[in-house]
Subunit: 338 residues, 2 copies
DNA sequence: TTGAAAGCGATACCAG
DNA sequence: CTGGTATCGCTTTCAA
């Protein structure tokens, strides 16, 4: 079984009886070639099963890269992959391909995979920051590789960012619970020391104060322990005297954990989750929803724009959230004397 | 704001006072360089923020590609992205990067993105076949690019495949329902004309016959209409006289649809889904589970193996499924006279 | 409209 | 152990 050679541009040129450059022109958009020769070239290319090598094309200094890198925590997280899906679609529509790399949400992982991606000479780098310091990317940025942070802004780095209106979303959820008659409203999240959560916690507290309620640490569970199971945390929260009558889950992980903890309760507290998830409607879970795919799409479009002009000013784009009532958030507080 | 140049291997060589080839050796594993010069080179590289260009490295004829392409239907489908996650992890562990491309489950899409990926000179191509003819990849395979089909075998192409024991899983589910006293057991899937479903339907029918029950078209809904909402199909199924007392959902989409249709029923039929999903335990759904991440991992490992030796014989690997009882599948048939 | 020659960044071959 | 030289596949001047 003989392994043949791959046909190159020169092979095509030879067969078509033209110069390599002419073949190149045929494949380059908006370069003039007489229709006659173009056809000769194309048929030769077809005969040889020629496929232009985009590696070689990108090699040239300042050559156009056709790839974009995306660094994410892990592919199994619904939020992450939905963002990835939005990115991929938007890129593909413009002829770019997506290289994904995951960090397992670890700080070392982030820098390591960034290195790999940059070695591939991606035209732009999209990332959901894990580390609280992206200054290691500054050299690359100065070299002209645009960096776009998603979901949380980059730290110590000039970069565009696409984030959510986290604070506003939290205010809306909290206000709705207050309007529903709740006074003891808990907020649970894990991890807590990330941008999205600090913003959401801030909104939660602001809304409490606006509603005439003093924020109380007893109702806050701001964890930073990847191993802490959310359902256990929720159970502990509800086991205290004077338990909260409503819970806001800071992300979908915690929300699913809360569902596990609440499923067997006779009169469960109200529950509002952050981030929508596929079976939330079946489960009747009220959430602060947003559109992760749209985040990805916007990030990809911005990346393409920046690749065209890396010197432009960077911006931070905030995407809206909206409260989606499905039942769990509309439960009234259990009557005290029941 | 001046855009600087990226440091090259030659720059590093110049600064370290050695030849380019020596720098190259430092970065190539298992090439002998005196520790003294190696250190000089590395410090020079660091000063210049040098990052080897893997594009240039792969350009050389027979050069080692560091990328693997994965063609999938769409990134939002839990099954697909879990597979992708397994692939990515396994690849990253060995220094490869993953390029993903999605087809929106369309036949034209598959060939189009395969083209893009091959233009990137991926070292191997993994795909979940959509088209029923992958012969368009044969040229590339002969050129030495291994192709690995996941979930369903490739058609008209010599390629490795990693699939599930679909038939066995369907037999197990059906047999369990029969053992539970069910006689009218429905099977619903959409799309139906894909390998996994034809296998599962076959297993379903075999198990019925083995249990002394004649397969009956009235209980089969083998759809091929992407727009048909699963919940409507289930409702229609249950509305007929003499409705089934148990339903097997051929994939997770249909299963979630079934949940929507069944949620308000007083005495819902038993339900077993194919494919596990995140909130299945919360919802108490019995499923024929498997491990999509493991499929991805195995596919990636096989790809790496084949890249090292593309002339090896191809194989088909079957991965096990297992019935996970969670309640919905254990419901007894409603008493006829209730 | 077409072609010749140089070069992108790294590696392999063969000497030293 | 180290260094020249050709080369991978394509694109960009600059001429013709």
């Amino acid at each position: 079984m003989s392994v043949q050679q791959r046909a190159t541009l020169d092979d095509v040129a030879r067969l078509a009886g033209v110069s390599p450059k002419t073949v190149s022109r045929v494949y380059a958009q908006r370069e003039k070639v007489s229709p006659d020769t173009a056809e000769r070239v194309l048929s030769a290319a077809k005969r040889l099963r020629f496929r232009p090598n985009s590696l070689a094309r990108s090699l040239r200094r300042g050559g156009v890269s056709t790839t974009v890198g995306f660094i994410m925590g892990e592919l199994r997280n619904p939020f992450y992959y939905t963002v990835a899906s939005g990115i991929e679609k938007a890129l593909a529509a413009q002829g770019f391909t997506l290289i994904v790399a995951t960090t397992d949400d670890s700080v070392e992982g982030e820098e390591r995979v960034a290195d790999t991606l940059l070695a591939q000479r991606v035209g732009a780098l999209l990332l959901i920051p894990v580390s609280d310091d992206q200054s290691y990317l500054d050299g690359e940025r100065q070299l002209g590789t645009p960096v776009i942070a998603i979901d949380r802004p980059a730290r110590n780095l000039v970069a565009d960012a696409i984030v959510l209106e986290n604070r506003r979303g939290a205010v809306e959820a909290t206000t709705a619970l207050i309007a529903g008659g709740h006074r003891r409203i808990a907020y649970v999240c894990n991890p807590a020391s990330v941008y999205t959560q600090t913003e959401r916690v801030r909104g939660y507290r602001e809304a409490l104060i606006a509603g005439g309620i003093d924020p109380d640490p007893r109702w806050e569970r701001l964890l930073d322990d990847p191993t802490a199971p959310a359902d256990a945390v929720i159970r502990e929260l509800l086991d205290q005297p004077d338990p909260p009558t409503a819970i806001i889950a800071g992300n979908n992980r915690v929300c699913v954990g809360a569902l596990r903890a609440l499923r067997d309760l006779a009169s469960p507290p109200a529950l509002i989750g952050f981030d929508d998830f596929e079976t939330a409607d079946v489960l009747g879970v009220t959430v602060v929803g947003h559109d992760p795919a749209e985040m990805g799409r916007r990030a990809a479009l911005l990346a393409i724009e920046r690749m065209a002009d890396p010197t432009a000013f960077t911006t931070q784009i905030e995407l809206p959230t909206r409260l989606i009532p499905r039942g769990s958030g509309e439960r009234p507080p259990a009557t005290e004397t029941a």
